[in-house]
Symmetry: none
């Protein structure tokens, strides 16, 4: 029935991606199996539990995204490397809206297990290292690395969600870079409450 040569686990993950995107966090395994064109039972030949399937989906999206972002080129200056991460990440997310959405959904709703999230993060060690280095070099403002990393991720996410065009994305990168680098004057005074 389904296209014969496709590898089943991938087919199932793609189906899961689609139904999570369209139907939210409550989808059943039966629904996923049906969308994948396999029987209810078959799904469990590939993923022993629903949690395993969710984790595999999360990790597969995250590693696909990591592959798209690639490894930073250590020969290039910091700003260039940060910009490259931004560009490729943004491009990937814009071209893979469903995957991007579902990745965030699984993460934010707490459906992906801690283990899966850890594995997913490993794929981004290269990118994180760029920020570590920038921080050590004194290029960035003095804030925890996880905070800065989160800002990058959130701003890219939001740029995709807000469907920024290329020009706007350019401006948006400026917002990020001008924010996190040291060349700026601190804001004046704290507002009285």
């Amino acid at each position: 029935m389904a296209r014969p040569k496709e590898h089943k686990p991938e087919t199932i993950l793609l189906a899961a991606l689609s139904v999570f995107h369209e139907e939210g966090v409550t989808v059943s395994t039966a629904r996923i199996a049906k969308a994948a064109g396999v029987s209810n039972g078959s799904l469990f030949n590939y993923f022993p539990t629903k949690q395993a399937l969710i984790d595999a989906l999360y990790v597969s999206i995250k590693s696909e995204m990591a592959a798209a972002v690639g490894e930073p080129d250590h020969a290039k200056p910091i700003e260039h490397r940060v910009r490259q991460i931004w560009d490729r990440w943004f491009e990937w997310a814009r071209d893979n809206r469903e995957a991007h959405h579902v990745m965030n959904l699984l993460h934010q709703a707490g459906l992906a297990s801690a283990d899966a999230q850890a594995v997913g993060n490993q794929h981004f060690e290269g990118s994180v290292a760029v920020f570590d280095e920038a921080l050590a070099a004194g290029v960035l403002v003095d804030l925890p690395i996880d905070y800065l990393g989160a800002l990058v991720q959130q701003q890219i996410d939001q740029a995709v969600v807000s469907e920024l065009d290329d020009h706007q994305a350019e401006v948006a990168f400026g917002v990020l870079w001008n924010g996190i680098t040291r060349n700026s004057n601190p804001p004046s005074t704290k507002a009285s409450q």
Copy 2:
């Protein structure tokens, strides 16, 4: 049996807040009822459906937060007003970590109904107006208002999640403000891919 004078709906919402925080999106009404110290059936004397309970929880958190943020003082300059929003919001979120977490959880997991989200947003019209005005005044970079608003929210969220101290929060506000205001040069060149 339960403490006699406590108002029940509030007690139930507090219990729901707690278990959503601790056990995630999958909590059952029975679990909430037990945490609230009422019987399974009693919960439905106050909230006709689980969805109604979730919506009430979402709206109650959001309006509590809105009350904490307050209305901006139109006599003050823009930056002051933005700073005030940031300060109060951050303070509230830091003091109400559970509520802050659950609010985001219900929103991001799609559990709060569209109606509830609309009601919740009404409470923030005053704050949104500040950004509208800043945008119109040419103070901010030229990006969609929803994008800018989301940045504020996400950076505050992250500041709370990352448990920034007061000094770091000060720096973090600088990151936001230096990013979204116009006084900065755009970053030089787009990275080659």
Copy 3:
């Protein structure tokens, strides 16, 4: 709130009648109480259980109907007495469609307890006696008394349900009487199967 002078049990029974008629066999005690304008709990001050309420309703309808039918006049000939039962019964049922419907509903759905049905039947002993006597006198065809009695009841029921007018009801009585009296030739032959 409710009209002050009405006797509560009757008010409740009338409300029950109405909601059973309009909403079928599944009505809740809460629904009945609301329709009666009393609180949920008050209902149980008058009827210790839902079953008791149903039984009281059944018996009250049945005895009201019996009162309408009255006692047969032993001075009159059999046919007259049967006709009188038919007339009064039909008239009552036509004027009390809801009660008639609910009485049958409680009976046929098995909601009225056996005891209640026995009590209800006691009110019709006078009428049954007419048929006993007719049977003994050889006026009627030789069939069990319960069978003949049931025919009378069912034909009246159906006459009401079919909304026969006076003339049709006259004809309908003829159908009954010509059927159950002996003056007619038996039908010719049994159909071969």
Copy 4:
């Protein structure tokens, strides 16, 4: 565990028939499942809702009965055809007391949906046509077709309930036929009230 070769939906319907007969309109799906020797959840593999199960039960009984009654033979005279309907219907009902009882129960308690009742009635169009024709031919008294049809049904029902033997059933048919045909004198006078 359960007997392996039995067809499940039929097994479940038979179990439902039995428990509706024995326990009345309030039986739970769990009770039916247990009687059928399947798990609670299994029942819903065959009938998506309790209503669907009830409707299927109603229609299956009604069509089985219709099959037993068969199509009238248009070559035979009216009386013969009516008699044939009576005979076969009576025989089926006597041999299928439970089914007969439950069919009436579902109908009278309003448990079978309007759709199911419509479908059930389609199976009896042939029989109804016989009465239509008899009415048109002037054989029957001038009463609405639904009234006459109801009489037939009710008298057969009652004959079964009263457990008439063959001879009594013969007499009972006479009651029906002599009642509904024109050859009889109308009863004399209306009783004074």
